[in-house]
Amino acid sequence: MSPRPEVARPSRAAGRTRRRYATRLPVPARTEQLLDAALELVGEGGFDAVRMQAVARRAGVTRPVVYECFAGREELLTALVTRETAHLRALYAEVARTGDGEGPKGARRMPVRALATLLAEVRRAPATWRLLYVALDTLPDGTRDELATARGELTEVIRARFAVYAATLGLPADLDAEVAVPLLRAMVDVAAQRVLLDPDRYPPARLTAALRGVLGALSEPAS
């Protein structure tokens, strides 16, 4: 696999085990730690669960420490969404490059490899990926739009990949991409959701093997 952009964050474990009278962290490191705690809370209870008090408790600090970094809940949520949408875009970019410059052979293999890349990213950063599926209604307007836009960009990645695949393999020119793309997006979503919810039953390898099997079956003449 090609080298991926640096999206790793400062170790979360180090921050989480700190307790109330932990040594003072420099503000940037503290900010990251608090955002990590907030992201965990989103994964458990949606954006509604992100309260200054809850973030403080999760991070093992007092509430004033949270207020040193963020004026209030809205500012914290905005910072969280800004950071995580940047992560999402880095993950998309990884998927978007799959099979580039590899010719027809690469294009044939691309769907399986793109799904494998995407699901590997889901596994690596589940808390970030979960933001694609968490309810947005309780977010402040601007923040909600920012995250909704980033969610929609995955569809554009799929649209571009589909166009490459269809053109290289010679799928019918009148195949309706406006229909194909939302259907593909829905299938990608269900795969990602299974990996998030039940990775033991649906490990990425099982889902990519299933796709490979389908493409294999569809490339054999009907008996």
């Binding site: 309810a135 309706d176 939302p182 269900v190």
Partner: protein, 211 residues
């Protein structure tokens, strides 16, 4: 707060089962118009032209009402799907079978658009049991799809992970229904079925997909 009730026609006595259905009908309309958050005991009472205590006679609270509503809609939708699926998912021509099944499905979606809109766009405002129930309905449908895959593909289904394929088929079917519900003029069912016919008519794909 005063609770004026107008319209003696709406207030006439209904048999309890009919009254319950009527309240759920009004609640469904509220969800369709303004989302699940718009469903309050007061709003349902007003829409049905009854006093609020009447609503409480049938439902302990808002969550119980929403749950009853979704239970009813999910039961109806599932019965619809299961009534057309076995017949639609037959034959050995893949393109033809999938296209007929999709056509049958979208027809019944458009027969109960509000029901499907609610079931396919679960909102955070809905109780979580509702999500569980929808998931159980999907599992029943998945079972039917799995056996159809084997029936339609025959030899070619050997080695396929039909459980996963069924999940993908359901996701695609739901996405198709969402398109039809969201923009019926832009995406009439015929456009969706033309897509499956074109795609599956192009089979077999060039050989040798990924290793």
């Amino acid at each position: 707060m005063s609770d004026p009730v107008h319209g003696s026609a709406a207030r006439r006595r209904l048999a309890p089962a009919d009254r319950r259905d009527q309240l759920l009908d009004r609640a469904l309309e509220l969800v369709a118009e303004s989302g699940a958050a718009a469903v309050t005991m007061q709003a349902v009472a007003r829409a049905a032209g009854v006093a609020r205590p009447v609503v409480y006679d049938f439902f302990a609270d808002r969550a119980a009402l929403l749950d009853a509503l979704l239970a009813r809609e999910e039961t109806r939708a599932l019965a619809d799907v299961l009534s057309v699926a076995p017949e639609a998912l037959t034959g050995t021509d893949l393109g033809d079978s999938v296209t007929r099944a999709l056509d049958a499905f979208l027809t019944l979606v458009l027969r109960r658009p509000t029901t499907w809109r609610v079931l396919l766009a679960p909102s955070a405002a809905l109780p979580t049991e509702v999500g569980t129930r929808i998931e159980q309905g999907r599992e029943k449908i998945a079972g039917v799809i799995e056996s159809s895959i084997v029936a339609v593909l025959g030899q070619r289904a050997a080695g396929l992970d039909t459980e996963v394929v069924a999940l993908a088929v359901i996701a695609a079917g739901e996405a198709a229904a969402r398109l039809v519900l969201a923009a019926p003029e832009q995406f009439p069912p015929a456009r969706l079925t033309r897509f499956t016919r074109t795609l599956l008519g192009a089979l077999p794909l060039p050989p040798g997909p990924a290793r």
